[in-house]
């Protein structure tokens, strides 16, 4: 397996800043994979992408794209890479089609070839009909598609997508992901940054989580979520018996073999696993404390969440037994796997940036 992007001990210090924006970052992206770079705002993702795309000068370390050292040979690297930024940077003095043909001209494609490529890509990205209008008329989704088409004009080996689906409608997002998967089939390596964890989990072959300029984790989304302590979650909606209290039930459930931790969440809360498996450092106001529902919550049910080590379903029997013994009524069960978002929060904390 060859390496499409290599970052080794990368350091970037902006002038007049005490902290390094990128602080000894190392990772590799394999050829032909979709690689997600995740991290909170200001974690160093954009700076890293900036260095890899020759727009940010590294303070130290090495970085290469498709085997070309981006620091020593930025011109050579620009032939191998393409960037789709978060904000549109289309050339508004040109039509959409001309945006593509001029881009190819900058990269030395002869006229006939650039016209043919532009026609193909406009068609592929569904912009054929509006290829010769003003770029200003384009919606956000169309501009995004045009920028990806433009990026593909010079057949890059590595495509960098910065927050590609921010602000897109669901149709545009699905379309975008289809195209990105197709690019991977054709052997293009895709490096993307995103805040959308579901998307990262679904799209990326591997993800790297970055914070404070350092790599915190790098693996497949499945492996990362699997690695969280308490691999799965069993969420129970329970109506306590007449003389019972939720806290006592929790304590009893804690004793069930296979239960790592039990906590109470808002009564009648959403069945789905809320972001963040509470109790991680960094949250102002003592993260781990169970947030109780208002006394006498409507319906009388309380939601209890069990973080379990084994398959959640196998614990249903023992849990039901404990509840039955206490006269509590089990009214709802939800089995949840931890999501990439939980991994993210676990690694980077809950503090606002």
């Amino acid at each position: 397996m060859s390496v499409a992007v290599e970052v080794r001990d990368l350091v970037k210090q902006y002038p007049k800043r005490d902290v390094n924006a990128v602080d000894g970052l190392s990772f590799e992206v394999h050829s032909g994979e979709i690689f997600g770079l995740l991290g909170p705002n200001g974690a160093g993702k954009s700076t890293t992408i900036g260095v890899l795309t020759t727009r940010v000068k590294a303070t130290g370390g090495r970085a290469s794209v498709a085997g070309v050292d981006v620091i020593r040979d930025p011109v050579g690297a620009r032939r191998m890479l393409a960037v789709v930024p978060q904000q549109t940077n289309l050339d508004r003095s040109l039509t959409p089609r001309q945006n593509l043909t001029f881009h190819a001209a900058y990269h030395g494609y002869p006229r006939a070839e650039r016209n043919a490529r532009a026609a193909d890509l406009l068609k592929e990205f569904g912009l054929e009909e509006q290829a010769d209008v003003k770029v200003d008329w384009y919606s956000g989704g169309m501009a995004q598609r045009l920028m990806i088409a433009r990026a593909m004009m010079h057949q890059p080996a590595v495509l960098f997508l910065d927050e590609p689906t921010t602000g897109l409608d669901p149709q545009s997002r699905l379309f975008l992901w289809e195209r990105v998967r197709e690019l991977r089939e054709r052997g293009v390596t895709v490096v993307l940054t995103t805040h959308d964890m579901d998307e990262a989990a679904e799209m990326s072959d591997r993800v790297g989580v970055v914070d404070h300029g350092k790599l915190l984790a790098l693996d497949t989304p499945a492996a990362l979520t699997h690695g969280l302590s308490g691999q799965a979650v069993l969420e129970l909606t329970v109506t306590p018996g007449p003389a019972d209290e939720p806290e006592k039930i929790l304590a009893a459930l804690q004793g069930v073999e296979g239960v790592e931790r039990a906590e109470r969440v808002g009564a009648g809360g959403p069945a789905g696993l809320p972001p963040g498996m509470a109790g991680f450092p960094g949250m102002p106001g003592g993260g781990g404390a169970p947030m109780g529902p208002p006394p006498g919550a409507a319906g009388g049910g309380v939601t209890l969440r069990l973080y379990v080590r084994s398959q959640p379903a196998t614990l249903l029997g023992p849990v039901a037994t404990v509840l039955a013994e206490r006269g509590a009524q089990l009214t709802g069960v939800h089995i949840g796997e931890p999501s990439l978002e939980d991994v993210f929060i676990n690694l980077t904390g809950r503090g606002l940036r």
């Binding site: 499409a4 050579g76 620009r78 990269h107």
Partner: protein, 273 residues
């Protein structure tokens, strides 16, 4: 797994191996193409102000008896110089301020396969081309408004050379300003920089006519436009006393080099963090 691997065999082969020269020409072609596409905007930008200046200063004031017939001959070379200088300056500065901030349009060119400083050099080149087009345009416009334009065949080499060097100086200042001035301060650029440049550049008066106003005469020496105005006047009206052409050309070349160097440094700072 090797640390640095060759590009994957599965990636699409890059059919084009662009040379730096081709990339440079393509970027220049983009700007010329856009100039051609917006030719009426370009004409309005470069021609309207000189047209009014000639009309008011040489025609209207002359009709009222405030300026002599001779003055229009003195004014036209100054207007040619002013037009070339300001066209060059504005061709670079204003688009650059926008392209680096709001529109980010320049990013696609910054990612083209050529050294980044050459993108700045392209801007300077374009500015010189547009400035010379504008300057040449001033002669027919002058003839139209004034009923004749002073011209001297023997002065053409000096005229051409001074216009190239003077436009270069203007473009260099434009590059410097375009990379230094934040977009929010764009109006300050007009008030604090353009206006003094326009009026201290010996465009509306020959430099030697300031002999009796020594302090102002010295102030004008700090403005590269003075040397362009004097050189153009020397080329088209050799009989009017002017600063020696070689001094003008030397100082224009020097200004061009210094301001371009500062401008390119500023450009690099903006283009690469």
């Amino acid at each position: 797994m090797t640390a640095v691997a060759a590009p994957a065999a599965t990636t699409a082969p890059t059919t084009a191996r662009p040379s730096t020269g081709r990339a440079f020409l393509a970027i220049l072609w983009r700007d010329l193409f856009v100039t051609g596409k917006e030719v009426w905007v370009f004409l309005a930008q470069v021609a309207l102000q000189p047209l009014f200046m000639l009309f008011i200063f040489a025609k209207v004031l002359n009709a009222g008896g405030f300026v002599s017939d001779q003055y229009k001959n003195l004014l036209l070379p100054g207007i040619v110089a002013l037009t070339a200088f300001l066209t060059a300056l504005q061709t670079v500065s204003f688009p650059l301020i926008m392209e680096f901030s709001f529109t980010r349009e320049i990013e696609d060119r910054l990612l083209a396969p050529l050294p980044t400083y050459l993108v700045a050099v392209e801007k300077l080149t374009l500015a010189i081309v547009r400035a010379i087009l504008a300057a040449v345009l001033m002669f027919p416009i002058g003839a139209l408004v004034l009923g004749g334009a002073a011209f001297h065949i023997g002065g053409i080499p000096l005229l051409a050379l001074s216009l190239v060097l003077g436009s270069w100086a203007g473009a260099g200042i434009g590059l410097m300003l375009g990379t230094l001035v934040p977009p929010a301060k764009i109006s300050v650029l007009f008030a604090v920089i353009l206006t003094p440049l326009m009026f201290t550049g010996a465009t509306q008066y020959p430099w030697h006519s300031l002999d009796s106003m020594r302090w102002f005469q010295i102030v004008t020496l700090a403005n590269p436009l003075t040397y362009l105005s004097e050189a153009v006047r020397g080329a088209t009206l050799p009989s009017v006393p002017h600063i020696a052409p070689w001094i003008c050309l030397l100082l224009l070349a020097l200004s061009g080099a210094v301001f371009s160097a500062i401008g390119i440094r500023g450009f690099m700072r903006r283009a690469i963090n």
